[in-house]
Symmetry: C2
Subunit: 370 residues, 2 copies
DNA sequence: AGGGAATATGTGACCGTTCACAATCCTGGC
DNA sequence: GCCAGGATTGTGAACGGTCACATATTCCCT
């Protein structure tokens, strides 16, 4: 009878009820560790110990408590736990578009790693690029989680990254870091410059006299990707044509492709991502230029569909999932206060040769229109 | 000097600091409404009133408090708020695969609607289909949020839905409801049976003598989609061939396509989604059967890329974003206790005619191999 | 048998906010 | 000049956990 000392003055929830009373209607007051303690005949602290798996609890006691937990359908209140313990194993991913492959895959990597570390992950989508809206979104994210990860592949993302309030743990997947990345900046990225260079080189080696570039919108003036492409051209002694600025999706690629299709000098095109490549290819087909006989196209990202296009797409594999994981582990290190924050690269992109690029052919047989 | 009564015994954080002191290092203890109150010379309750925008606060007081908030960089602690107020405007989406179009788009719809209602949304990915893992994932989701939405298009999702603990608000996007959907089941779905029927009918009208079906894994034995396809065939007096069971992605479609390509009787194929269709088309091409001359293919979902395939894909538009929104609003109604829970349908799928299906042609000129 | 460490368990305070209610200040009507 | 009643502000007690520390209980060793 050790616990009878204080009786609860206002028992908000009937302690008994259910157990074997059918599918009982919604319980609204939640059961607390004190309720469990009462049923198990121990102190609330002992219950706390049991649910945290930790410390010294006699087996028999543990069993009794667990029985009580099951009987009452107790589940710990995460808000209370977070409040009391101070720690906050949660993050929200701020991103602008979850349907694009690179973003979705990065998110997947983050989620995977976060789950393993027992973090819960939230998601906040940036819909508008208006500075105030972005700030609002970031603020909401900031106070619903203890930390954030920004997928800053694009302009909005960069804006969001900049709007992250001081003192909030943050990590970011960026497209191209401002040069030079300073220690202390929690940035992770894929160095695709080398891959862009070798993809370009691959096309030149195929006999193409130059390589055109359909670019995704960059967050900086010179993305590594663009730089790699330029470097390869420069090394071959050809002057780079003006890059064709495009958006992110197939439609943007299609529009860029229409423009390029008019230029008979275009025989090889490097695209900022696979969707763009898809659009370009479509435009070329419509213009009666076959792939790869008349025009060679190389994509970027290696989206899962790209192997099944007809022709299948030569592209550059990017380990976005790995990027996401790295992003999380940087954030995690930051929160734990272990490893110092040092911006770094992840993975090693690799050219995947498939069918959409072939050797230069000055007089290809044109395929049928449409 | 009205507030000097109790001095904080252990000032964990230097109250002054920063303001104009450079990029000051991480502050670790958070500032509370009491700190703000002290600075503003009011009671904590007044601060609470100000941050909640509500009640009676004199303008001059409000200004003073807001100044203090800004000065201290105060941001309300969401855990404390959730604990004290009891309410919990958060949900987590339980899903098995965020990179597939249907899933990603549904998630997007949920996020959109949730954001508008000021809910924060978490995401939990089901990686394994082991029952215990699923249960664990659902449990984690359950106690990091006040409610869940399950995207139950597939088997794992259905498992997860079943594992949702009693009393937790939940809504689900399902593929096909068990018949009949009972009032009280928080289910939302897209009735694509009619669309499947009309797509099949479209192919038959094109002169094809039968229509084969490459199916996504169904959660029930007879999905509406399958039923619609069968109904259309039955109406035309042809017996339905055995559906080809496949997975979700292009590879699965490809494998199914290889099997079908061997059968010269196959001239029209309806696919469970666009990725499957892509894979089927690829397989047909490799087998030397051109699209749509030799084989007509129709997809499902209208993924953003499908318009840019070559040939562009005839498919059925599905409003997944709308589905997601509807899902949230069902959950919301459930939480608010307003509208009764009645399972319902969302949107009206529509056949989008493009290039991948054409009239039946008994002796097509075979296109070149590869 | 006594002492100290290790094992178990309990108590009080506190995390940062909201809620219910009490207290104070004004303002105008009589 | 007094009072009702709305406008403003303050106080104490939750909310459901964890933490630090105190208290029992065991157990082993000398």
């Amino acid at each position: 009878m050790s616990v009878t000392g204080h009786t609860s003055p206002k028992p908000t929830a009937p302690a008994s009820a259910d157990a074997a009373g059918g599918p009982s209607r919604q319980r609204s007051r939640s059961v607390s560790i004190r309720d469990v303690a009462k049923v198990a005949g121990v102190s609330y602290q002992t219950v706390s110990r049991v649910i945290n798996g930790n410390s010294y609890v006699r087996d028999s006691t543990r069993d009794r408590v667990q029985a009580a937990i099951a009987e009452l359908g107790f589940r710990p209140n995460s808000a209370a736990r977070a409040l009391a313990s101070g720690e906050n194993k949660s993050l929200t991913v701020i991103t602008s578009n979850t349907t694009l492959y690179g973003y979705a895959a990065t998110l997947q990597g983050i989620e995977e790693a976060a789950r393993a570390a027992d973090f819960s992950v939230g998601i906040s989508v940036l819909e508008s690029s208006d500075e105030n809206d972005v700030r609002a979104a970031v603020d909401r994210a900031a106070d619903s989680s203890g930390s954030v990860i920004v997928i800053a592949f694009d302009h909005v993302g960069t804006l969001a990254l900049r709007a992250v309030p001081d003192g909030l743990p943050v990590a970011a997947a960026v497209e191209t870091p401002e040069t030079p990345p300073v220690a202390g900046q929690p940035w992770v990225w894929i160095d695709d410059g080398e891959a862009a260079r070798s993809a370009t080189r691959y096309l030149l080696d195929l006999g193409h006299s130059t390589v055109h570039y359909v670019a995704i919108p960059s967050t900086t003036h010179t993305s590594r990707r663009t730089a790699g492409w330029q470097a390869a051209l420069a090394a071959a002694g050809v002057t780079a044509p003006e890059p064709v600025g495009a958006g992110w999706d197939a439609l943007a690629g299609y529009q860029a492709g229409r423009r390029l299709a008019r230029d008979r000098a275009v025989s090889a095109i490097l695209c900022g991502n696979d969707d763009l490549a898809l659009g370009v290819i479509r435009a070329m087909h419509e213009a009666g230029r076959s792939i790869p006989e008349s025009v060679s196209v190389v994509g970027f990202d290696n989206a899962p569909q790209s192997a099944f296009y007809t022709p299948s797409l030569t592209t550059v594999r990017m380990d976005f999932v790995g990027l996401g994981r790295a992003c999380f582990s940087m954030l995690h290190g930051e929160i734990e206060g272990t490893a110092p924050i040092v911006p770094h690269t992840v993975g090693r992109p690799e050219l995947i040769v498939r069918e959409s690029a072939g050797s230069f052919n000055p007089h290809p047989t044109e395929s049928r229109l449409r």
